[in-house]
């Protein structure tokens, strides 16, 4: 498994990983993505569909009812993207496919299905150190 360093920050605290999503033109787009252990599925802004390579799932258009305090519903399109992880020290995973929801959002969230559920995640906030290991 390849170990990829995370970018940690505080106030508010968070952990990000650099993802490289395959583009329609064959290249890759490097983006900082928030690791969200509360997200069942990863989330991308819907406008990214203009330039990234994806295939829609059979369900395609879905409505997601959020549980918990927020309790809102939002529409999304369910699809699959290809990506690899990278860190600023030059470590890279192989490319893999991951399910994602494309929604009206302004953030990139990395959730469980096809991502965290296949990873080892280590976050050490006192030492500001973190990494993720993924078999890809």
């Amino acid at each position: 498994m390849t170990r990829i360093g995370l970018e940690l920050y505080t106030q508010p605290g968070g952990a990000e990983v650099y993802i490289n999503i395959r583009r329609k033109d064959g290249g890759h787009e490097r983006l900082a993505a928030f690791i969200d252990t509360g997200a069942e599925v990863s989330l991308l802004p819907a406008h990214f569909m203009s330039f990234i390579d994806y295939r829609l799932s059979e369900k395609s258009d879905i409505i997601i009812d959020q549980a918990g305090i927020v309790g809102q519903a939002f529409r999304a399109q369910e699809g699959f993207i290809r990506l690899f992880l990278e860190d600023s020290s030059g470590n890279m995973t192989g490319e893999f496919e991951m399910p994602t929801w494309f929604a009206q959002t302004d953030e990139i969230l990395m959730g469980f299905e096809g991502f965290l559920d296949r990873a080892v995640l280590h976050i050490d906030m006192p030492r500001r150190a973190g990494w993720i290991e993924l078999d890809a």
């Binding site: 970018e7 920050y9 508010p12 968070g14 990000e16 650099y18 490289n20 583009r23 033109d25 064959g26 290249g27 890759h28 787009e29 490097r30 983006l31 900082a32 802004p45 406008h47 990214f48 203009s50 330039f51 690899f84 600023s88 030059g90 890279m92 490319e95 302004d106 953030e107 990139i108």
Partner: protein, 95 residues
Amino acid sequence: MSTSRIRMGHEPGEVAPNTWNDFSWARLHHEELLEKYGTCVALIYQQRVIGTGVTYDEALADAEQHLPAAVHDITPIVYLINHRHRLYRVRTNKG
């Protein structure tokens, strides 16, 4: 992979000289960027915001429109400026 002057996308392992510094700079100045530009997609090159928009395509068009004519072949990062705070405001029950 690119417009005439702005190179977007890259091959695996390819890292432009500005890439990691620009991500670090954006992360460090996230709150200031949010205050100045609001929630948006930003293209950042050498610690400068060169284009913003509601979408990726709008940010790219904005950068292309405002770049000086002499600028060619630049490699900006794509950075999402957004609210990191999930809790918008915390207050007492007295308001």
